[in-house]
Subunit: 111 residues, 2 copies
DNA sequence: TTTATTGTTAAGCATGTACTTAAGTATTCC
DNA sequence: GGAATACTTAAGTACATGCTTAACAATAAA
């Protein structure tokens, strides 16, 4: 059912086509056709990917005339980022992570 | 086909059961049964999730006797983190992101 | 050596995902 | 008005995902 926001955000980012769309949109807004150009698929398929991105809250779009313009909404992007970051930091503060850190420090001393 | 490492990492993190397993493992290593306790599903289902996490490189495990011990491998975790972070930063440096930043700054001035 | 524990494999099922082509709608241009 | 553009919807197909229960190791404990 994908209720959770994180579920949707991570699931959206799991697809290379959708990541490519995000990569394009971080540069600036784009139309649906512009997003579709580099992608090896039909326009309806791109629409579906766009819908997934919008549903995850990563992208918003607005239609003016016959053109739909899409842009990044970076809040959800940072939501996903913060989840991963917080867990990595937690791990680093655990005994396991501490040992890994010490091993790494030791390895660097021996260089 | 999920060839890409990022595909697998994001897809693995898109499931709440798997994120719960990661949350448990950042505290320290755990057995399969320990990971299964809080999860509302059968042990074989947990095994499948574990396999997905291992396949994504987020988790490693080793069997000693009849017990399999699992632990986090934070390298792939930071791989996903860095992808998101880099895109957010790129967006912030774009005209769109710059405007959002300025709007936010203005809003905070008015507080 | 029987029994309990811990994990693994197999088979099956229901649902979701990622497309496709074809047809349709709404705008804009000529 | 008629044609081109930019998307949108519908219908259908193929494959992947997320479980289940049942049966089967392998190891450890009594």
């Amino acid at each position: 059912m994908l209720n959770n926001k994180l579920d949707k955000a991570f699931a959206a980012l799991a697809d290379p086509a959708r990541r490519a769309m995000v990569e394009r949109l971080v540069i600036g807004p784009a139309t649906v056709s512009e997003l579709a150009v580099p992608l090896p698929m039909s326009l309806p398929a791109v629409m579906l990917h766009l819908k997934v991105l919008e549903d995850a809250g990563l992208v918003t779009s607005r239609k003016e005339g016959r053109v739909r313009t899409c842009r990044i909404d970076p809040e959800k992007l940072s939501l996903a980022e913060r989840w991963v970051s917080a867990r990595r930091v937690m791990w680093e503060h655990s005994l396991d992570g501490l040992n890994a850190y010490l091993d790494q420090t030791k390895a660097e001393d021996e260089k």
